[in-house]
């Protein structure tokens, strides 16, 4: 009944609604785990005491959140001009590969040169990878959705090719050698939280500021609202589409750079484990709004971090946590139907 819902304060309504959604996802996942003969309550207790109840666990959540947050922004920016970028995963890989090239080639440089260089290279790589779909869409030739999707797999394979053929480490050909210390992003508070967090938060604030207070943001929103009207008002549509797509790619490339330089300290084959797709989903569910993006990233990071505990506590593989992730996404995806009665 819509009338009754309107009498609640709005914020409370939203909070209660999201809590109910998360509860529903937890229930569904618990049911599946129970069917397979494991104890879901033990799993939940361990996951939440670790991720939210211990300093180390919480720091791990933040570490997991960094690339998810940045790739979500890589999707949100093009989304504002109506471009659908499912290619964050591929752009992230190519960005990581460019940054790795920098780390391996200029390893004798001091950190204050090497790290900014790697960031620039990562952005360049991601931007180049996004330029292909951006340009094809800009000139009106091919829809960007499908090209970004296809380039994901190509990006992953190009990275595999580079590692196995050019940069294999002596011990293991599926990864490069560990980077020199100057090529590693600094970490904070004795945890694994690295400078990527600052990068992500700065990007988030920048995104919010540009969209809200600058001419570019206004023009981007105009294009997203009605491209033809925007074009007739003298906004350079083609240029915007191509450049904004490249900016999205550059952000994803930066996420790749942060992952190899801040977390893995080397480039590995298949390192991202679908982080780019998580970014897409988060950005979509948050409607590309900055607050929504950071909240959703945090929730997804808790779930993904909790996965590492499944093996220890209820002897299930790490990948099983993807079920909980999927259920959480489902209930948000289906939210209109669950909580709002359709107006006839």
């Amino acid at each position: 009944m819509p009338q009754r819902a309107d009498t609640y304060p709005k914020i409370l309504n939203v909070v209660v609604r999201y809590l109910l959604m998360i509860l529903l996802a937890l229930l569904l996942f618990g049911l599946i785990v129970r069917i397979f003969g494991k104890d879901p309550f033990q799993a939940y207790k361990d996951i939440f005491t670790f991720t939210l109840g211990s300093t180390y666990g919480f720091s791990e959540v933040i570490v997991t959140m960094i690339p998810i947050l940045i790739t979500a922004l890589a999707v949100a920016v093009p989304w504002r001009v109506g471009l659908i970028n499912i290619g964050g995963e591929g752009q992230l890989y190519i960005g990581a590969a460019f940054a790795t090239w920098g780390a391996l080639t200029f390893q004798n440089s001091p950190a204050w040169i090497l790290l900014p260089l790697m960031m620039l290279l990562g952005m360049l790589g991601g931007a180049l990878w996004a330029f292909i779909p951006g340009y094809l869409r800009g000139i009106g030739l091919v829809n960007e959705t499908i090209v970004t999707l296809l380039l994901n797999s190509v990006g992953i394979m190009v990275v595999g090719f580079l590692i196995f053929s050019f940069w294999p480490s002596p011990g293991d050909t599926s990864m490069t050698a560990t980077f020199v210390p100057a090529a590693l992003l600094p970490t904070f508070f004795g945890t694994r939280i690295h400078l990527g967090l600052v990068i992500g938060l700065v990007l988030l604030v920048l995104y919010w500021f540009v969209m809200k207070y600058t001419r570019w943001g206004l023009e981007m929103r105009a294009i997203g609202g009605n491209p033809q009207a925007a074009r007739r008002n003298g906004i350079p549509l083609k240029g915007y589409l191509i450049i904004v797509m490249c900016i999205g790619g550059a952000i994803a490339g930066l996420a790749g750079m942060a992952m190899v330089s801040g977390f893995y300290h080397r480039l590995l084959y298949n390192f991202s484990q679908s982080v780019g797709f998580m970014g897409f989903l988060i950005s979509w569910l948050a409607g590309a709004q900055p607050i929504g993006i950071i909240l959703m990233s945090f929730v997804v990071a808790i779930i993904v971090t909790g996965g590492t505990l499944l093996q220890l506590t209820i002897a299930l593989p790490y990948a099983v946590i993807n079920i909980l992730l999927a259920f959480t996404l489902f209930v948000v995806l289906a939210r209109q139907g669950f909580f709002e009665r359709k107006k006839a």
Binding site: V158, F280, L333
Partner: protein, 305 residues
């Protein structure tokens, strides 16, 4: 480079490519009804693990194939609930389904990592029993390989020569017009998802029960996304999907062939061929209306209440 090794390469390419033909056919049906299913990768994993588990427990590979198909059809019902009933975005829901597939298949397959099964029996091509054993082993295929091309024709017949197929394509082109002509777009899309899911599940069954005969997490290695690419490559035509699957098999055969004559070329680069060719094909069409996708592809049907 002997004739024997050339046939050996072709034989292994056929084994590697068959699952992809079934999967592509399934996605052709989805997309003809107007639904993009990016969760295909997850569906394949769930079907492959279910089929493997049932084969292992029952000892009967045919039962495993059946279970894999059903798993695919049922998995798609969850997707259908999201995109048809709940009117959620298809791309986002598909990717969420992919994550569900990662998790579910890991859970189902957990007990069977490293297990061995007797896969689908392989039968010699008729008329070749006179050949020496070294040769006959190259012409032994399982029933799913023999059925792959007939099934492509069956799907073509269903889509283009039956009333059901006409209705399905009508929903994919214009849901409102289909509704006006007395069809139920929601029901049609559910049917498309279920039937397409059965076919994709059959592809996954070939992968785990007939080809590798093992289960491992992420064993489908991106085949779901290759199938999405091949659907575009084959212009949403079931018969052209055969060509698409051959493109994939050909890339694998080429790689094996080069390896057998001592040329080292990275398998990674050859595996990009289906994607790169699809992108080139898209560029070559360049928005030409004649080749375009079903008009309602990706659109939510809000109904007429």
């Amino acid at each position: 480079m002997s004739l024997l090794s050339i046939f050996g390469v072709l034989s292994s390419a056929i084994f590697a490519g068959t699952s992809l033909l079934y999967t592509t056919l399934g996605e052709v049906i989805h997309q003809r009804s107007g639904i993009v299913d990016l969760g295909l990768e997850g569906l394949l994993l769930v079907s492959a693990s279910t089929g493997f588990a049932v084969t292992f427990e029952s000892g009967n590979p045919y039962l495993g194939v059946l279970a894999a198909m059903l798993a695919g059809g049922l998995f798609n019902m969850v997707f259908g609930y999201l995109v048809i009933n709940r009117q959620a975005n298809q791309l986002a829901s598909g990717l969420a389904m992919m994550f569900l597939g990662f998790g579910l298949s890991a859970l189902i397959g957990n007990a069977y990592v490293g297990a061995k099964i007797n896969g689908l029996p392989r039968m010699l091509l008729p008329g070749l029993s006179g050949l020496p054993t070294l040769w006959t082993s190259l012409f032994k295929f399982d029933i799913l390989i023999y059925l792959a091309i007939p099934v492509a024709f069956l799907v073509w017949w269903l889509l283009f020569r039956t009333r059901w197929g006409l209705g399905l394509r009508a929903v994919g082109e214009n849901t409102d017009a289909a509704f006006a002509s007395g069809r139920n777009p929601r029901l049609v899309r559910y049917q498309a998802l279920f039937f397409g899911g059965l076919l994709a599940g059959l592809g996954a069954a070939h992968l785990s029960i007939a080809y590798t005969m093992t289960w491992g997490e992420h064993m489908t290695a991106g085949r779901g996304f290759i199938a999405v690419a091949l659907v575009i490559f084959s212009r949403w035509q079931p018969l052209q999907a055969i060509v698409g699957a051959l493109l994939f098999s050909g890339a694998i055969a080429f790689q094996l062939l080069l390896q057998s004559i001592g040329v080292e070329i990275s398998g990674f680069l050859l595996e990009t061929i289906p994607y790169v060719v699809t992108i080139l094909v898209l560029v070559a069409w360049g928005g030409n209306r004649k080749h375009s996708a079903p008009a309602s592809l990706g659109r939510v049907y809000y109904g007429r209440e």
